[in-house]
Symmetry: C2
C-alpha cells in the first residue's frame, strides 16, 4: 500500500506537494499537479485517513448510536443523519445498542477511541451514569428521541406528550371510556411522556385512571403481546388500547388476533410511530406520526453547527411536532362501546 512519499518520489516532488494536490490546499502549478496526479493513478494511491486524522485531530466522522436497528423507525432516522452529514463531508458510524446499557457503554467507548468529532445518541435509558458521562465529554453530543434530564447536550425529539394526548383524546371523542396503555421502560422519557399525555387526556375528560390499565414493559413485540394478555384479563376489560410504539402495537394486534378479538369492532388500537407506510400494504393503524427523517436531519445539523462553532451557546431542545393519522384501527368505536 503506497504512501504519500512513494507518490512524491515518483512525481519527483516533496510529500508536501502531494498533500497539497490531494487536499486542494495551497498553490501548485498545473504541470506539477498533473505529474502528481498521474503518479497517484499509477500507484493506486489511497490516502491514509488514520494518519491524516491523527495529525489534524479531526476525523470528519460522526457516531450515531440507535437502540434498535430492526425497528424501521431508526433506519429512517439514520438516513436523515447520513444525508446531512454527507453533504457536509462527514461520515457516519452507525451503532446498535439493542436497548442495552452495556452495549451502549461499549459503543460509546469505541467511538471515543476512534475519535469521532461528535455523537448522536439515542440513550438506552436515562441514568445518572449517562448524565455524568455526557458531562465529561469534550466533543459535542446530541441526544435523539429521548430526554436525559439536565444533560450537557442538545436534544432533538418528537413531542411525545402531545402525540399521546392527541391519540387518547381521539379515542375519547369516539366514546371510549376504558382506555389502556402499553408502555415501555419507566426510565425512558418517551415511555414516560406518552403515559403523561395519556393521563392528561383522561384527566381532562374526567375519566378515572386505573393502575392495571397502565402496563410498563419493553419496546418490543413480545412485551406488547404479554401486556395485552394481562389487559384482557382485567374486568372490566378496556375497549381501546394505546400502544406507545409500533412494536408494542404489533404485539398487541397479534395478541388480540390470538384471543379472537376483532379490531376495531371489539377493540380499538392506536399507536405511536407507524411502520413507515412504505412497509405496509394496507395502512390500518391510527398513529401519531413522528417525522423520523427530519429528526435525523435536524439532529445532524445541530451537531454540525456545534462543530463548526457557529451554533448557539446554550444547549437546545428541539421538539418536533407529531401528526395524528386516523385510520381504520380506531373506527366504529361508538357502536362497540355502547354495546
Amino acid at each position: 500500500m503506497p504512501t504519500i512519499r512513494d507518490v512524491a518520489k515518483r512525481a519527483r516532488v516533496a510529500p508536501t506537494t502531494v498533500s497539497r494536490v490531494i487536499n486542494h490546499s495551497g498553490y501548485v502549478s498545473n504541470t506539477t499537479r498533473a505529474r502528481v496526479e498521474t503518479a497517484i493513478d499509477d500507484l493506486g494511491y489511497v490516502p491514509n485517513r488514520l494518519a491524516r486524522s491523527l495529525r489534524l485531530k479531526r476525523t470528519h466522522t460522526l457516531g450515531l448510536v440507535v437502540t434498535d436497528i430492526t425497528n424501521p423507525f431508526w433506519p429512517a432516522v439514520a438516513r436523515g443523519v447520513e444525508d446531512t452529514a454527507h453533504e457536509a463531508g462527514f461520515n457516519v458510524i452507525l451503532c446498535n445498542t439493542d436497548e442495552s446499557e452495556a452495549k451502549q457503554e461499549r459503543y460509546l467507548d469505541v467511538l471515543l477511541q476512534k475519535r469521532v468529532d461528535g455523537i448522536l445518541l439515542v440513550p438506552a435509558c436515562a441514568s445518572a451514569a449517562l448524565d455524568e458521562w455526557i458531562r465529561n465529554q469534550t466533543i459535542p453530543i446530541v441526544l435523539l428521541d429521548r430526554r436525559v434530564d439536565c444533560a450537557k447536550a442538545d436534544t432533538v425529539r418528537g413531542d411525545s406528550e402531545d402525540g399521546a394526548y392527541q391519540l387518547v383524546r381521539h379515542l375519547i371523542s369516539l366514546g371510549h371510556e376504558r382506555i389502556a396503555v402499553l408502555s415501555g421502560p419507566q426510565n425512558v422519557s418517551t415511555a414516560v411522556d406518552r403515559v403523561a399525555g395519556y393521563r392528561r387526556a383522561l384527566a381532562e375528560a374526567g375519566l378515572e385512571e386505573r393502575a392495571e390499565w397502565v402496563q410498563w414493559g419493553r419496546f418490543s413485540q413480545a412485551s406488547g403481546y404479554e401486556a395485552t394478555g394481562r389487559l384482557l384479563a382485567t374486568s372490566p376489560r378496556p375497549s381501546a388500547l394505546f400502544a406507545v410504539n409500533n412494536f408494542l402495537a404489533i404485539g398487541a394486534l397479534r395478541a388480540l388476533r390470538h384471543a379472537g378479538l376483532r379490531v376495531p369492532e371489539e377493540m380499538s388500537v392506536v399507536s405511536f410511530d407507524d411502520l413507515t407506510s412504505e412497509l405496509v400494504i394496507e395502512p390500518f393503524l391510527t398513529v401519531a406520526h413522528q417525522p423520523a427523517y427530519k429528526m435525523g436531519q435536524r439532529a445532524a445539523e445541530l451537531l454540525l453547527d456545534r462543530l463548526s462553532g457557529d451554533g448557539p451557546n446554550e444547549y437546545q431542545e428541539i421538539v418536533l411536532p407529531v401528526k395524528l393519522t386516523i385510520r381504520r384501527s380506531s373506527e366504529q368505536a361508538r357502536a362497540t362501546v355502547a354495546s
Copy 2:
C-alpha cells in the same frame, strides 16, 4: 484529551509501560500496574485508536456496504455481521448505497481510506469496473447476496434460482398457467437468477414464456407498482405474480388493491424475502425465505477467517438454502384459474 504520556508521567513510568498495561502485553508488576490504572482513571484517559491503528497497520474494523437500509432484510443481515464481528473483537462500519453505483464508489473509497481490515459488500450491480476494483484490492472482500462473476472474492448468498423455481412450481401446482414475474435490474444477479428459476419452472411444465410477462425494473415499491400496472394491461392477463423481492411485492399488492383486484381470489402473489415476520401482524404472503441473519453471520465468519489467515486459499461461494413458506396470498388458485 490526555495521551499515553500524560498517563505515564502521572504514574511515574514510561509510556511503554502504560501501553503494556492497556494491551495486557508483556510483563508488568502488580504494583506499577495498579499505579498506571489509577492514573488512567484519574485522567479519564481514552486510548487513541487512530494512532494505534496507524502503528499496527490494523484497524480491527470491517466495512459493511448494503444497498438499502430501509429494507428490513438488510438490518437483519447487518445484525448477523455485527454479532459475529463483535465477538471477534471487530467493529463494523455500516454504509448504505441506495443501489447507486456512485455512492458505492464513494463509500468503498472511504472505507479504504479508513483502512478497514476487510469489506462485506452487497454490490449495487455487477460491472466490469467493480470486478477490476475487487481484483486490485489487497484486503479481503466478501460479496453478499449478489454474484459478481469471476471476482476475486468469497461470496455468500441465498439460492435465488432454486427459491424462484420453488415459488413458481408452487403456483403451477395450484393450476396457474399465466404467471408473470416482477424483477429487478438486469445487471443484478439476484434478479437474473430468480428470473432463471422462473423460466426453468415454466419450461419444465411446458408453459410458454411471454416476454411481456417478464418485467425488469428496480427493487422498489414504486417499480413494483408500475410494473404491475403494465402487467394488468396485457391480454390475456396473468393469473399469478411472482415478485422477486419484498418491496416489489408490496408495490404489486398496492397496485392490485388500487385496481380493485382481490388477492388471492383474483390474482395470486408470491415473493422473495418476506418482510421479517416480526413486522407483519398477519403473515399473508407466500414467500421464499432467505436466512438473513445467517447470511450476515457466515459472511462475517468467512471474512474473519481470511483475516486470521486460516481460511481456505481458493475463493468460496457459499449458497444458503431458501425455504418456501406457503400462505394465503397464493391460496384458492385453482378455482380462480378455472374461471
